[in-house]
Point group: C5
Chain length 367, copies 5
Amino acid sequence: MKDYFHERPGSVPGTLIFDENTSPAQLALFDWDGMETQTFEDIEPEACTPYLESDSVSWIDVRGLGDGQFWQQMGKVFDLHPLLLEDLVNTPQRPKVEEYDDRLVIISRLVVPRDNKPGFDSQQIGFVLTANYLLTVRERLDLDLRDSFEPVRERLRANKLGRCSVDYLAYTLIDAAIDGFFPVLEQYGERLAHLEEEVVAEPTPHTLQKIYQLRRELLELRRAIWPQRSVVNLLSRTGNDPIVSTDVRLYLRHCYDHVLQVLEMVETYRELASGLMDVYLSAVSNKTNEVMKVLTVISTIFIPLTFLVGVYGMNFNPESSPWNMPELNWYWGYPVFWAVTLVIAMGSAIFFWRRGWFETTSGFEED
Amino acid sequence: MKDYFHERPGSVPGTLIFDENTSPAQLALFDWDGMETQTFEDIEPEACTPYLESDSVSWIDVRGLGDGQFWQQMGKVFDLHPLLLEDLVNTPQRPKVEEYDDRLVIISRLVVPRDNKPGFDSQQIGFVLTANYLLTVRERLDLDLRDSFEPVRERLRANKLGRCSVDYLAYTLIDAAIDGFFPVLEQYGERLAHLEEEVVAEPTPHTLQKIYQLRRELLELRRAIWPQRSVVNLLSRTGNDPIVSTDVRLYLRHCYDHVLQVLEMVETYRELASGLMDVYLSAVSNKTNEVMKVLTVISTIFIPLTFLVGVYGMNFNPESSPWNMPELNWYWGYPVFWAVTLVIAMGSAIFFWRRGWFETTSGFEED
Amino acid sequence: MKDYFHERPGSVPGTLIFDENTSPAQLALFDWDGMETQTFEDIEPEACTPYLESDSVSWIDVRGLGDGQFWQQMGKVFDLHPLLLEDLVNTPQRPKVEEYDDRLVIISRLVVPRDNKPGFDSQQIGFVLTANYLLTVRERLDLDLRDSFEPVRERLRANKLGRCSVDYLAYTLIDAAIDGFFPVLEQYGERLAHLEEEVVAEPTPHTLQKIYQLRRELLELRRAIWPQRSVVNLLSRTGNDPIVSTDVRLYLRHCYDHVLQVLEMVETYRELASGLMDVYLSAVSNKTNEVMKVLTVISTIFIPLTFLVGVYGMNFNPESSPWNMPELNWYWGYPVFWAVTLVIAMGSAIFFWRRGWFETTSGFEED
Amino acid sequence: MKDYFHERPGSVPGTLIFDENTSPAQLALFDWDGMETQTFEDIEPEACTPYLESDSVSWIDVRGLGDGQFWQQMGKVFDLHPLLLEDLVNTPQRPKVEEYDDRLVIISRLVVPRDNKPGFDSQQIGFVLTANYLLTVRERLDLDLRDSFEPVRERLRANKLGRCSVDYLAYTLIDAAIDGFFPVLEQYGERLAHLEEEVVAEPTPHTLQKIYQLRRELLELRRAIWPQRSVVNLLSRTGNDPIVSTDVRLYLRHCYDHVLQVLEMVETYRELASGLMDVYLSAVSNKTNEVMKVLTVISTIFIPLTFLVGVYGMNFNPESSPWNMPELNWYWGYPVFWAVTLVIAMGSAIFFWRRGWFETTSGFEED
Amino acid sequence: MKDYFHERPGSVPGTLIFDENTSPAQLALFDWDGMETQTFEDIEPEACTPYLESDSVSWIDVRGLGDGQFWQQMGKVFDLHPLLLEDLVNTPQRPKVEEYDDRLVIISRLVVPRDNKPGFDSQQIGFVLTANYLLTVRERLDLDLRDSFEPVRERLRANKLGRCSVDYLAYTLIDAAIDGFFPVLEQYGERLAHLEEEVVAEPTPHTLQKIYQLRRELLELRRAIWPQRSVVNLLSRTGNDPIVSTDVRLYLRHCYDHVLQVLEMVETYRELASGLMDVYLSAVSNKTNEVMKVLTVISTIFIPLTFLVGVYGMNFNPESSPWNMPELNWYWGYPVFWAVTLVIAMGSAIFFWRRGWFETTSGFEED
């Protein structure tokens, strides 16, 4: 996910900017009169004109951002304000709701977990909602089959949408967008659980890097869901807006609860991840402590003994004086030396045993 | 406790989803006319119909989420909106209050400490409150005897409820649900006190793991109680709602104070747990420091002495020169060596004694 | 201070619960007609009846929570709602203000520093305020002479209260309760200053334990003062309440400033205590660093020398070859060895001196 | 960027203070009647008078703060309140919007990334907006060609502004100012990514210094953008202000979204930078741990062996007793010694191998 | 600065309490009729009476808190409410604005940097503002010449105040009080910059102590400025107060911006100081790491060599067996030993060189 969109400072407002590798735009039209659905795939914007004013529910679904020419046509057919066009095309914009005369514009985000690797893909979804039709614009063509709208398209084709009104269709799509956050959340819950085990079992610097990466992605996820809170809240509350009926607002209130659930989980995961950081740091300290203990035990046992053997390696001349190292000539000298050595070594070992230094403490025990 | 409920993104709103291991639903009906209580256990939804419109206080108590067929019947008998059904069955939902025409729907949570191990069990409880009857739906059958509703059922059977109105009955149950948080809190207070002692007495990495686990569970507890704050506040304040009488609102205000107390304690425990983390980290640092001191004392005493004995183990030929190690032939050579050795050892020991390195500082002293 | 009160979940609301070691209740009545004060100590509740309706200012002061029978009488004499009784007796409740018809109920807390040891004692104080009388209920009998109400009783006995109205009396007591926080604060200021010196002069793990304990008590203090903020704010602002006159509200606004001062100081102390934690941790790191330096200096000086003496302790046979350790037979061999030794030792020492390793850095210098 | 402006306490309000190295002021006038633009560069304030009352859109653009005499003229020509003058000249002021009778005064900030080194330059920009003309005052002359206003001047010269009204011109400039934050943000995103790699690849104390510097600059950036939030929000919302038309407010709402995006990114970067600090600290701990392991492995292998060779360097006299070091005379004595030595060394090595101490863990692996 | 004022709990409200070392009170009167200023220094309160009702602007300036008798006179002359007297005399009170009938009471604080040492002096300043006169009360006499009011007194004496109204005079003084925070801020900015260099160049535990002290003082500064925010905001906004004219409110809005600037800088400095703490801790870790490296390099090079020389110090009898240390009799034995020694030493050195252990990393490099 790009972090933000920005045009060249000072350029004309409403300038549409297209990335070099933008997908071409594909336009599909679903027209439903409550009985049956007509589907037109890959058509030109102009082909939509007859359906826009009809009483049936029309959903114009654009995937891929296409090029300037395409949007010039779109602007003409759907009568789109230049700023509105900018919101739809210059992605990513911040999620928001805006009223333009007789239409509502909603900018939201779709997320979908990556297929084979951690992380999620994210794209902007724009809604233009009038009394007669719903126009949706999604950024990317390649995520299409994995994203949350495909099931809705299928339900529409199968004539199973449930209620024949444009606002209900819009709700269904917004609900699908929000529900799309849950599988992503699930992935993070699993990664966090996995990291908890890793920190316990065998913490490496790589573990830390993974925790940092997790925190970074959760920040990104939070940035994607946070503004949606006020979007859905606004939609579910505004007074006498003629576009969204009271009935559909009831459904949107449910949607709002789901946004709150997602937000609460993201915050919970962030707190857990930051707690894991502390656990990791303490695991490293414990490992250093263990290494130190090994060194200290070995050194403390052998250093005094090394001194002792050094003593009897000295060359004081026993012939110069009866006081000079008479031990060297004792009958039991060498065995006594070994006895003393063993006593010292055992003593040190018992001393460390009593302090609990031989217990391995680097691993977490399971509850 | 599952973290959140989520259906497949894009699926039809109001779809009821049943876990494979959901308990079958058991329905009980208590009908009280102020004089005596009629109790019907394990009945079919249809059997409730005659009591729903009567003037007596009827409590329909459903335990276990059952299956789709059961809820189809329920929906018909109690005239439940599909979204309302979703709130009751697709658990866990976020605690909330919603008005549907002539009824209040309250989603709340019941918690109960685990029997033999740390932690708590948690289940969703849904209330549907009308002027004539109260319907409650609890998720799990197995927690029944331990949860906070059993005493209310007993009081009802014993005709000791106190006041004959549906809203007062609802209040009694909500109050019981909130009061159920206190035994759980008590458990955490005890675990925290236990951990404080453990960090002081013998901190192991296992201690840290316990602190992390405690923090994790407190986060979960917070997530369970936090939304109830606005639920109970809303119930105790809403203006002229005909379902909850002003009198019962007075009782709910008390309930609200208890929610605040629970919240404050959870926050306090979280702060204490995070302070304990710091204490633990510092305990580990102190232990490393102690290990270092042992190593340093031993090394500093013996390393110079080992050098000294090495000196007199050298083989400079005393015969080549009078300057070559004449000490080896001195009469008092060896005794003087021991005297020097003792002086050095004692000097080092006194040096370290003065710096306080022999004091054990790893344990906390009691106040 | 108990953290919270809780009855058995599901029990009848308004049930009064008495601890086994609750003090018996002592009731005193002060009746003041602006000219002189009549005092009755240790009387029965019924004896208050004649004074409740009189125009004089009557203060009924109950100390100790007593037993059920006592409160049954109280309830009858003062016409107390069951929930109100619960607030007074089932301590601790959260500080709050409630209106019951013609009376105000205020729950607040009294704190008093412990006599000979750190910490504070805390008890609940409940006010029932009507136009004609003031009823106060304090939890504990044993704190009586040390708490902040004794001076007010004395002023009343000495006829020096200042103004003859029930609301002014209530203000005087609330003000005394809030002012009672300052001596406790002062104690914490002193303990903090003492800990700052200790962390600087000789940090031990016991210091850390004291900081943790201080933070814990400050959390408790915060929990006691925080809800009083909205209590006093509410009292000083509510519009046309007939019980508290505009004039007394002016005094309560002063009281509110004091609550804010207490809160600000508690927060400041908490931040300082958490900063001290960091200073302590860094002191421990510094000490480890110092220990390491001692070890490193000693080892670095003597380990190469020990190698050197080892070299000349080798037994290569000088007779097999002129290349085999000819040094051993040199005339100046041994003196040269000592010269080399001294040069190496001095070199190392100068190296460490230059790096500043001989400076003691474990203690803080005073500004 | 200076942190704040302050005059000598107690001096006369409205005193204009000029830095010694303030740039001289350059005044340019753009007058546009919707058809063509007249441009006057480097003119005197008085020369503007005829254009101020005309119907055409006049933009008076002052660069450099100049001296007292210049502002005296400005004050007279444009009828500026002394406090307004202070806001324009005594920089930096806090970004804000103020209404003075028939004019709006907006204080904002322009930022621009530094050319060849990290960081950004920042200058104050003041707007005085009336129905007929727009006066802008920028602090510095030297940033002119790099800042975000140059493209607007070019568009104006090329007659491509788009809409002929003063408020639209003001919006264009405010929008350019806000958009100017994005290139700066981009620079911080890149520096952060670079630091993430550095912490992973080769963390040095210099890395830490860079992180600290980054956090410091992000704090400064936040201080520059934070007050603009309420500036733009205020401008885009105020009710029936005759100066800013409803139409232009729509554009300003877009601008507001951009401010929010900048703010969110700054906060995100700050959180990431503070997470990097933790990663750095843990990297240092890991390095210490590695050093310790090397020392411990070497010591643990060789210290016991050094004891062993010391044993056979002792001079116990084999002639005094058959028990005195008979090994020295064994036929296989020396080879057996080497065998034992190898066994001990291999044993230690295997022991450490098993514990994983030979694995290098100091570097982060890539995902 | 004392942290708070507190009387004995339970004492009579409005009791004035005087410290033993309170300065005597000095009263000065400035009376200005717009043309010229009459100045009376060191007069009695009664001498002010004739000027209080006159139309001219009278400023009664009291320095030093004096004694009870003085304030009794003041109370009589200025008709001061007992609570108002308490606010003025029992310092420090929390900054606030209160309305008493026809007068405004403002409690604020004056700060001034200490002369020769770090830190700031702080005193309470109370304003009593009526339509005809302004009474100001400052706590301390000794700060007089250094504080921000002296320049205002001088301007008044020189007849350069600018506008002849009591509210404008009050604004001038409040503005001077706020502007007085900037030189203090400047001092903290400098101390912080100095500490940043010190942490980089040579961090000692004394550095840490200085950072802690800085954080402590910034907390105190924040406590002094924070409540002023709402004081000045209240003054600049209140609707139709007859005492402060709309015109002067415009000036006070400027003042409010300055308060916000001070607050933002204090918060910024606090964040920077807390970031410095982390840098310091990491510097200590780095130093430990360096010490460890020295120890490890020395030990790793010499410990194996010491083993080697020990080997050839053994006394295995070459005569018992051809296998017993034949090396000792080799012709090139001793030179080969040195060759091996050099190879091992060089090998270790190269190994450590490659790992970068010889690079000094304890100092920060400059950008």
